[in-house]
């Protein structure tokens, strides 16, 4: 027993060490300030995929992981979407392919974008209400249903989509032993018959991947999982909690619009807002705007008042040696 725990701990330590070494290698290797963080984010996204895979396969407790991510979101902000979500990694990979093929992306109008952002709460509501609608339960069971991942799985809307992605053998959908699990696919198959599921899952996968090829991170703009995290940052009561904050110095900003254009989610608040902490539930803290801002100290990522990362004059190569 003790040996097992030690071996598990050793595995975790080795993993953490590898991740840390990888980040360090990127920091030293990448001299171009415009892509430094992007590379780091990619690496951490892949690490997160492996990490989640490991966690799912050994602890087997969705609720626990969910709780951990929930707490982290509460404290750090909606960074899960930008840095850890494997779903997001898929979209980013599609975007890389698109860039290689030299195909342009389409940008949605600001109004449509805002409406999509509102629509995510409708989706969230729908997914939570769905199990109750399909099989009515007694009111006294509701509380239990919300807190447990039972047959109804209402909460697993939040992280459930990730589950089949990281533990393929638990996925519902297999064709000739070929695993085609995909986020949200398990939910779709869970609530519908096999034949219908097969079609709907294919349609869903095709749509989300294709849309992310045309519009950057299209699904993320109204993903209900993101909504659940956004809610935490939306309520005024919680607003003071997030430790990670994007900060803008109004005077140094020349309003060149780069931050708005490079943002994969087209968040406009960074551009529109005058100085101070950027308050938006749409930002997923991918830091693309901070690394692309060409004005020194204009945009910053603060953690509890301490600056972790700030915009630099990226015309100069990195000074880290």
């Amino acid at each position: 027993m003790l040996l097992e725990i030690i071996s598990e701990l050793l595995k975790l330590t080795v993993f953490a060490g590898l991740a840390f070494a990888g980040v360090l290698v990127i920091l030293i290797w990448k001299k171009d300030l415009k892509t430094k963080v992007s590379y780091m984010r990619f690496f951490i996204q892949i690490m997160a995929l492996i990490g989640l895979f490991y966690l799912f396969s050994c602890t087997n407790s969705l609720l626990l992981i969910l709780f951990a991510i929930f707490t982290m979101t509460l404290i750090l902000g909606r960074f899960f979407c930008g840095w850890l979500c494997p779903f997001g990694l898929y979209f980013d990979l599609v975007a890389v392919i698109r860039k290689r093929l030299n195909v342009r992306y389409w940008s949605l109008s600001e109004k449509l974008n805002r409406n999509l952002n509102r629509f995510r709460y409708v989706l969230l509501f729908f997914f939570i209400i769905l199990p109750f609608a399909l099989s009515p339960i007694e009111p006294w069971q509701w509380a239990l249903a919300i807190f447990l991942t039972g047959p109804f799985k209402p909460i697993s809307v939040l992280l459930g989509p990730v589950e089949p992605l990281v533990i393929p053998w638990r996925s519902v959908l297999k064709i000739y032993d070929l695993n085609i699990s995909y986020p949200y696919a398990s939910i779709i198959t869970f609530y519908s018959g096999e034949d219908f599921a097969l079609i709907s899952v294919f349609v869903f996968i095709a749509l989300t991947l294709a849309s992310s090829f045309i519009v950057r991170r299209f699904w993320c703009r109204f993903c209900p999982t993101g909504a659940s995290f956004a809610i935490l940052n939306k309520f005024r009561v919680f607003k003071w909690i997030p430790l990670l904050r994007l900060n803008k110095v109004e005077e140094k900003c020349t309003k060149c619009g780069i931050c708005k254009r490079v943002c994969p989610l087209r968040v406009t608040e960074v551009y529109d807002q005058k100085g101070g902490d950027i308050a938006t539930s749409m930002c997923m803290l991918c830091l693309r705007c901070v690394e692309m801002c060409p004005y020194e100290d204009c945009l910053k990522l603060n953690m509890a008042g301490r600056t972790l990362f700030k915009s630099r004059n990226w015309l100069e190569p990195s000074k880290i040696k």
């Binding site: 342009r104 020349t254 309003k255 015309l315």
Partner: protein
């Protein structure tokens, strides 16, 4: 390009008069360029050798004119522009030579009076006059002109210049922030791009645009370095830095970058050795307002740095100065579409031109001024306006209020393209510098 036969604005001027005027002003101007450079050398005795190159390029009738002429014979096209809204990257990507053609000639402004009233901004009058007598080599060598409809003067200037040569007008929206403005501006530049492609016969491919953007990145890097050097104690006189800034407008940008890098490394060395261009307690002045254009309109910089007590220009907010190459094009993806949008945004959004307005006024200009005042430890600001430059003149109160809050004195200096008021302005500038000096000492 074929000339339009019927002149809309230009009166008939006899060829002889044109030649006489051109020769006279050209001779006077050549002398003046040499004189100004001599004066700059005199004030800064240990002027670095790297400045030699910029002195040569600063001569309008010197090597650069010859180079452009030769390039033209080889089939290259020259595209002139009046405002810094013209996307240089697009011109470079089409293998054309960009040159800025706004004029600083005093004597030519009087010729412009024949067409437009005296109340019109002298930059416009002078540019018209220069074109009338075919004085500026760069304006004459331009195959086409890009004019921007920023202020009233520039708007009509594009019509008047249309009498001589083909003119492409681009119209920036006066409100920058909205989505529809950006869409409009993008369409304007797309039309411009087609025009450039038609003239040069070169298709602007994504590969070419990318290398043009990278070229301008390097130039912007050198440009920023030069501005950063001016942050500390003065290692370069303001006039010289302004001259370097200006030469980028007509020089071969690659060579200019190299030479500026050389100059910067020399200056950085001097900063380490603590060799100052003038005593560190010299009042640090910033100029803002109407563009100051080499060669003739060097009156104000000359007065400030030759005054007694002496001042040193550490920053400016002129579209012919610190602002010119400061903002880089931020390319996210190397697709044609994104690069083009990036170029379009770079030329519209960070501009601090007073032709823009928003609900908060011309906020970008205010922010630029505050940042520069703090960063360069500016002691006083000279708000330079030429008569007839309405937009800059009208924004004065707003800027003054902002700078008053920072406890930085501002001095409103209005003048014209004339040498007659030099003595009077000298007194005014010296009084202002005297006041700054006493503030510095406290």
């Amino acid at each position: 390009m074929e000339k339009v036969d019927e002149k809309k604005y230009i009166p008939e001027v006899s060829q002889r008069e044109v030649e006489d005027l051109r020769n006279a002003i050209r001779a006077a101007s050549s002398r003046l360029i040499c004189e100004y450079i001599e004066r700059m050398k005199k004030i800064w005795p240990n002027r670095p050798d790297a400045m030699q190159y910029f002195d040569e390029i600063a001569n309008f009738f010197g090597i650069r004119e010859k180079e452009i002429r030769e390039a033209k014979e080889e089939g290259k096209k020259v595209i002139g522009y009046t405002c810094m809204f013209a996307p240089i990257e697009l011109i470079l990507a089409a293998d054309a030579i960009p040159v800025r053609v706004s004029s600083g000639w005093y004597d030519a402004a009087k010729l412009g009076n024949r067409i437009v009233p005296v109340e019109v901004c002298p930059v416009i009058r002078s540019t018209i006059g220069v074109k009338m007598i075919e004085l500026s080599p760069y304006l004459e060598l331009s195959d086409a002109l890009i004019t921007t409809l920023t202020c009233d003067g520039m708007t009509k200037l594009s019509e008047i210049l249309g009498d001589y040569t083909s003119v492409w007008t681009i119209c920036p929206p006066r409100i920058k922030d909205s989505e529809q403005s950006m869409a409009f501006w993008r369409e304007e530049l797309k039309t411009l791009k087609d025009n450039i492609e038609k003239l040069t016969g070169t298709k602007i491919t994504s590969k070419k645009l990318r290398s043009a953007i990278e070229l301008m990145h390097k130039a912007a890097k050198a440009f920023r370095k030069l501005q950063d050097v001016r942050k500390g104690n003065p290692v370069i006189m303001g006039r010289d830095a302004m001259l370097v800034n200006q030469t980028s407008m007509w020089d071969d940008i690659e060579r200019w970058t190299r030479k500026t890098e050389e100059l910067c490394s020399e200056l950085e060395k001097r900063a380490k050795e603590k060799v100052w261009a003038c005593p560190p307690d010299t009042p640090r002045v910033m100029i803002t307002g109407t563009p100051i254009i080499w060669p003739d309109n060097w009156k104000l910089p000359n007065l400030i740095e030759e005054a007694n007590p002496q001042g040193v220009i550490v920053a400016d907010e002129l579209c012919s100065g610190d602002r010119f190459l400061y903002d880089p094009v931020g390319v996210d993806e190397l697709t044609m579409d994104d690069m083009f949008n990036a170029v379009a945004e770079r030329y519209l959004l960070p501009s601090t031109c007073p032709c823009f307005t928003s609900e908060d006024g011309n906020e970008d200009r205010v922010n630029w001024l505050i940042t520069k005042v703090k960063e360069r430890r500016v002691d006083g600001v000279i708000y330079y306006v030429v008569r007839g430059c309405m937009l800059y003149a009208m924004e004065y109160m707003r800027i003054k209020k902002v700078l008053d809050k920072l406890n930085v004195p501002v001095y409103y200096l209005d003048t014209d393209y004339t040498r007659e008021d030099t003595g009077q302005i000298k007194t005014r500038v010296e009084a202002f510098l005297e006041m700054l000096k006493s503030r510095v000492e406290i």
